[in-house]
């Protein structure tokens, strides 16, 4: 397990969010330290995806405060751009750009957002593709890859921005069972390298093995949190017990 830094890199206080009449987040308060790996679990519709999408402001929260790496998330154009470049995200549906090659997918953001020179970003991209285990696919198009390979490209693409924090929104839910492992392996390696990670997932094995802390979401808020050990052996809350009994 990686050493945890001393500083809180993400601070959430009383975060609330509505979609029309429906309240998706009912007041989320938590702090996440540098190099911490946090796994978020909970039934569907409990607001866990909305929560992590608020952290890089794909969704704008309406009440409460979110501070990421010392910057508060507001309507400020400059802050939004800065935060998004610092926070990488991996989606359930991969969302690779189908009209670009794998290499171009990875280098696009460094080129145009970080303004990295082409040679440098290409070299970095190849390094990352090697790290996720598919350097030989660099010239292919996403449609020619398997789901697991696509998701690994998506991880490489997010890493290419040198983010301080990585968000994973159910990264293995759209994968065939035999491909889940290859993605989880990459994520484990990433966690061990000291990346701050927030992972929404249904993979309890991953949570048990890698997480520093588990957050259980229900009704748009954190119902229970603790170490994986606490969580899977002696959960306190009834909702948590019920959920775990259904899923395990």
């Amino acid at each position: 397990m990686a050493d945890l830094g001393q500083d809180d890199i993400i601070i959430c206080e009383g975060v609330k969010k509505w979609f029309g009449d429906f309240q998706a987040l009912t007041g989320v308060t938590t702090r996440i330290k540098e190099q911490e790996v946090v796994v978020v679990i909970g039934p569907s519709g409990s607001g866990k995806s909305t929560f992590i999408r608020c952290i890089n402001r794909l969704e704008a929260h309406q009440e409460g405060t979110i501070v990421v790496d010392g910057i508060e998330l507001t309507n400020d154009l400059r802050n939004i751009e800065k935060i998004r470049a610092e926070v990488g995200m991996v989606f359930q549906q991969f969302n690779l750009f189908p009209h670009l090659t794998v290499l171009d997918n990875v280098t696009l953001a460094p080129l145009w957002v970080r303004k990295t020179p082409k040679g440098e970003s290409d070299a970095q991209a190849m390094q990352l593709l090697e790290r996720v285990g598919i350097p030989e696919q660099a010239e292919k198009y996403p449609g020619q890859l398997s789901g697991g390979q696509q998701q690994r490209v998506a991880i490489a693409r997010a890493l290419a921005m040198n983010p301080k924090i990585m968000l994973f929104d159910e990264p293995t839910s759209a994968l065939d069972p035999e491909m889940i492992k290859e993605v989880l392996d990459v994520m484990k390696e990433l966690a061990q390298s000291g990346m701050t990670m927030i992972v929404v997932t249904h993979e309890m094995g991953f949570a048990r093995e890698v997480a520093d802390r588990v957050l259980f979401f229900d009704y748009g808020t954190i119902v229970e949190e603790g170490t994986p050990e606490h969580f899977f052996t002696s959960p306190e809350h009834d909702r948590t017990k019920l959920f775990l009994s259904q899923i395990l």
């Binding site: 001393q6 500083d7 809180d8 601070i11 206080e13 029309g20 009449d21 702090r31 405060t65 501070v67 010392g70 508060e72 507001t74 309507n75 400020d76 154009l77 400059r78 802050n79 939004i80």
Partner: protein
């Protein structure tokens, strides 16, 4: 230990606030567009003054001093009447064109899917030829074709079955005769009973499961009534005084009553529409969130209601027009029932006649009053738009049928339905749902394409408008008139299509 949350809810500076920037950009663009329009407007107004032109609507009421080749009124007494003639001519082509193009297009579209090689290829050649040639070329061609039939006159005088010349096609035609309106009452009543009969047979089918021949029964009912009415229509003569009574009732009605009724009616329709619209959006949990478009629709509907109500109240002329119209209508009915010039009205309801070619001078001829003459302009524009639209409809139908999942066809044949049965009972009803929206689009295109009548001197609204502004110099108002007219046609046609579309979608659920 941890960084405190210090910068609580700092508002970002204005020039970095996303929301502010968005609205500022929109307002700037709006301002630029408004400025451009304003500059154009003032230049336009200045130019109109400088050139001694005027901008006004007097031409709508003034005598236009033009004659129109064909239509309900060849020598209209006002500009608006002339435009009405153009509109009616346009609608004649549109409505008849839509009906025939739909039938033809459906047949060709199905033929395009036929397994029979020659049928399939013929349909294919038709589609590829017609849709890849400009419509205007085709229209010119049909007009030019008629000229080839011009022949020396001598052999041609007299009563004909069919006479073709560059003036048009003269064909035999059935026209209403003296007893027509009295007979029509029988037919209308017959239609009502046919409907009753149809429903009864359908119920019989559902209850007993026997073949009910519902359509045959209904058609038989109408025919029976028509047949009886053919001989018994003088019985309806008593309706004449009734119509007369209604006409004099409208004559006696004061204008303000009509104004009030119309205004309340306009508001009522708007209110009813909004209520229905909101009901449609309501979810079990309560009122759903309204989108911008929804709010726009509601505001537009209520505005329209208020504007119409105000219009009816301020412009008493409209109500007078309605009153006169109703009175004239019922006086017209009065004149068609009961006593004719020579006593009781006992003549035939319908009479058919053949065209008559008469000579009016050296090398000139004209068609007499018999039969009907499809003028060269109408022929060219009608054949043109109908064949052209049919080729597009065929593609729409084909795509719709192909879009019905293959499994449906297989399921139908697994049930033991014959190919024709599965087409009629399973595929077409489903395909229709897919076909309807693009079909509506094609109808709209047909309506807009009738404007090409100007190229073959068919006096639809564009040609009449052009003649009018050449006469009066009022170009801008005529152009505005065209736009409002075509936009209304688009709006009406698309709301009809939307209505049926929504109805079909509801059935599905």
């Amino acid at each position: 230990m941890a960084v405190e949350v210090q910068q609580r809810h700092q508002r970002p500076p204005l020039w970095r606030d996303v929301t502010v920037l968005k609205w500022a950009a929109q307002l700037v663009v709006l301002a630029v567009v408004a400025a451009i329009l304003w500059i154009l407007g003032t230049t336009g107004a200045g130019n109109i003054d400088d050139r001694g032109l005027t901008f006004g609507w007097r031409w709508l009421t003034d005598p236009p001093g033009i004659s129109i080749r064909e239509g309900i009124d060849l020598l209209p007494d006002s500009g608006s009447r002339a435009m009405l003639v153009g509109i009616v001519n346009m609608l004649r082509v549109t409505v008849s064109g839509i009906i025939v193009a739909t039938i033809l297009g459906t047949i060709i579209g199905i033929a395009r899917l036929s397994k029979n090689w020659i049928v399939n290829k013929t349909a294919n050649v038709y589609i590829e030829t017609i849709r890849n040639t400009p419509l205007l070329v085709q229209i010119f061609f049909w007009a030019a074709l008629l000229r080839l039939f011009d022949e020396p006159l001598e052999a041609d005088i007299g009563v004909k079955w069919l006479h073709i010349s560059s003036k048009g096609l003269a064909i035999p035609w059935i026209r209403p005769d003296i007893g027509f309106w009295q007979w029509l009452v029988f037919v209308v009543v017959g239609l009502y009973f046919a409907r009753v009969m149809y429903r009864r047979r359908i119920r019989h089918l559902e209850e007993s499961g026997e073949e009910a021949y519902a359509f045959t029964y209904a058609a038989g009912t109408v025919l029976l009534f028509a047949l009886v009415g053919w001989f018994a229509h003088p019985l309806m003569a008593f309706l004449g005084p009734v119509w007369g009574g209604i006409a004099s009732f409208f004559g006696a009605l004061p204008t303000w009553v009509v104004q009030a009724v119309l205004a309340v009616g306009a508001l009522g329709i708007a209110g009813w529409w909004i209520k229905r619209f909101l009901d449609g959006l309501r979810t079990p949990a309560g009122l759903a969130k309204l989108t911008d478009d929804d709010i726009f629709r509601i505001v537009f509907a209520s505005l329209a209601g208020v504007i119409f109500a105000a219009l009816f109240i301020v412009q008493g002329g409209i109500s007078n027009l309605v009153l006169d119209g109703m009175r004239n209508l019922f006086e017209f009915f009065d004149g068609k029932f009961g006593a004719a010039e020579g006593g009781l009205r006992t003549g035939l309801p319908l009479r058919w006649s053949r065209p008559f070619v008469e000579v009016t001078g050296a090398n000139f001829f004209q068609y007499g009053s018999g039969g009907i003459v499809i003028t060269g302009g109408f022929f060219a524009i009608w054949v043109g738009v109908t064949l052209y639209t049919a080729s597009f409809i065929a593609e729409v139908v084909r795509a719709g049928i192909l879009a019905v999942v293959r499994g449906q066809t297989e399921a139908a044949s697994a049930l033991g339905l014959r190919r024709s049965q599965s087409l009629r009972l399973v595929i077409l009803p489903q395909a229709f749902r897919i076909i309807l929206p693009p079909l509506g689009n094609q109808y709209l295109n047909l309506a807009k394409n009738t404007s090409l009548g100007i190229a073959v001197s068919y006096p639809e609204i564009v040609l009449v408008g052009q003649t009018l502004y050449n006469q009066t110099g009022q170009t801008l108002p005529v152009v505005l008139f065209w736009m409002v007219f075509y936009l209304s046609v688009s709006l009406i046609l698309s709301s009809i299509v939307n209505y049926y579309n929504r109805k079909l979608q509801l059935v599905e659920r």
